[in-house]
Symmetry: C2
Subunit: 342 residues, 2 copies
């Protein structure tokens, strides 16, 4: 049994904590909170052990929040820390907490690649996290690109990828986000390089646009091949077999996918899977051209679980991915979405 805690209980932290709590080989020591807000009360209501900085205990308790100990206690009792703190805070935690105590930690994609020994995507490089002290699960879009590109790389020789990202302006509960009536662009966005931290020196360019909506990133890729271009049937065959990719034929808006998640009563509307929009596939002189939808809040949850399993060396890639999928019901989600958008 691996003892795991989640340091930072926000968008990613709360989802990962719940998944760890359901894992038969992991024990959730608890989660940390630094401010006595709505999420702290949620953790109490969810019967999770809540740890806070030593000198904040009284403040939390005065606000009616039950505290199980200090963050120091939580870290001491854990074999692995999943660091889900705000972007950039992970580096500070590494230097002041994890390194001095020689703890294993998993960071999120908001941190620079240099924070960890390896940038991780379960489908692409599960084994490389084995035994590593520091692992970084790449960000939501990068995770989606890795899930989609790795199976292609295994079957074809890619000459170049052009990636066009339309990012959501903010998550639903973010107080600040994109401009309300504008499209913002980031030329030469970091995504191209970030994908290379997992997939190696794959030739790729990316541009990212930020638009005022809250549900999902919508991405498009134009892939040029050295030779042997897959046809539409090949692509659908390849992606249908991937457990964390749902192949949708008839979706036309990001909202339809969220509506389906609500209809299916998925907790927090989380789908965890990349939705490959099969109706957008086009094969032409330029190669292959298609779009896909990324559930930005939940896609990295299974990757965090697989990362800690690989780090602990307790299961093989196939065993881990299958178990993780089972715990958060990915097979049922994939199958339901594929039926609704058949």
């Amino acid at each position: 049994m691996v003892n795991v805690c989640v340091n930072g209980y926000g968008t990613i932290g709360k989802r990962v904590a719940e998944a760890i709590a359901k894992h038969p080989k992991a024990k959730l020591v608890g989660i940390s909170k630094y401010t006595p807000d709505q999420d702290a009360k949620l953790a109490n209501a969810s019967k999770l052990n809540v740890f806070v900085p030593k000198d904040s205990v009284k403040n939390f308790e005065s606000k009616g929040i039950s505290v199980n100990g200090s963050v120091d206690d939580m870290i001491a009792r854990s074999d692995i820390v999943v660091d889900a703190s705000a972007d950039g805070k992970g580096m500070q935690n590494k230097q002041t907490v994890y390194q001095p105590r020689n703890k294993k930690a998993i960071f999120q994609g908001g941190e620079e690649a240099e924070i960890a020994d390896i940038s991780f995507n379960a489908r692409s490089n599960f084994e490389k996290a084995s035994g590593k002290q520091f692992v970084r699960v790449v960000s939501c879009n990068t995770t989606a690109y890795c899930r989609l590109l790795k199976p292609l790389i295994e079957n074809y020789k890619i000459k170049h990828i052009s990636a066009f990202l339309i990012r959501r302006g903010a998550d639903l509960s973010d107080a600040k986000g994109s401009a309300l009536n504008a499209i913002e662009w980031k030329a030469h966005s970091h995504h191209a390089h970030d994908i290379q931290t997992v997939l190696g020196n794959i030739p790729i360019s990316s541009v990212a646009f930020k638009v005022p909506h809250t549900h999902s990133h919508i991405n498009s890729m134009n892939i040029i091949f050295e030779d042997g271009i897959p046809n539409k049937g090949d692509l659908i065959d390849i992606y249908s077999k991937e457990s964390r990719i749902a192949v949708l034929n008839t979706a036309n808006t990001s909202a339809q996918i969220v509506e389906a998640a609500r209809d299916l009563e998925l907790p927090r509307n989380d789908t965890f899977v990349v939705s490959m929009l099969a109706n957008t596939i086009e094969i032409n002189e330029g190669g292959v051209f298609f779009s896909f939808s990324v559930p930005q809040e939940s896609i990295v949850v299974p990757e965090n679980i697989d990362a800690l399993v690989s780090q602990s060396g307790i299961m093989s890639k196939e065993e881990s991915m299958r178990l993780t999928d089972e715990i958060i019901k990915i097979p049922k989600i994939k199958s339901s979405l594929e039926k609704i958008f058949a």
Copy 2:
């Protein structure tokens, strides 16, 4: 002197009417209104001749709107009708009004290509409208693609173009528009085919996304060449010389361009030009990759003017484009935007 009327006084009609009124070789007979709304009062305030359906005269006058005659009178007095009515209404007007009276007409890009003898873009095929009875000015995005692609076609052999469009959800005054919190996509969008109606059988694919904002379309293109790829300097040289393309180096959001148009006190914030976002240019194994901004309400205004000049055969392409640009101050707009975003 060519007598011209504008049938339909909405987003495009009101802009085109004002430009015609300033043209030394054209006389604006007047504009038509079918409902006694804000725009009808604007036309009065702007001292334009307002024509309405015969049996609506009393209704308009009862609402305090001065009427100069019937739509039938207006058409009879005109050599050319610029049809700026709602999408699809143009075909009805052609069949019931322009064809029976053997009138020349210019339609907008919301109509099918089949409505006209030729789909028109001044830079690409000015001469082809000469003497034609029916001309269709292609839509805003298609106009932008033609302005950008024609100079490339003249200099390079293109193998394939992938076009990614992020469309505004609605114009500012539209009562209905896109979903408020969603991205909508149109796979295999009509834009690829529409560009071919002007540029011929150029190999192109397009996908269009609609997002909830009101200012400008933002487009990206990935262009693959048969051989001889332009570098960044070549592209900037080529586009800097184009009168209806502004080359911007430092813009990062669509709103910045609108803000500049307000700062420059441009009427209605109209820029008429494609803003080529030079900071997005990337040259790679996949070819050339860049983005551009399209002022959806004003970009087709100069094309409508050039179309009627070509149709009338009164000037050469170069004379007409230069005069049109001068009338609506495009050289000053291009130069100001290029300085602000240098």
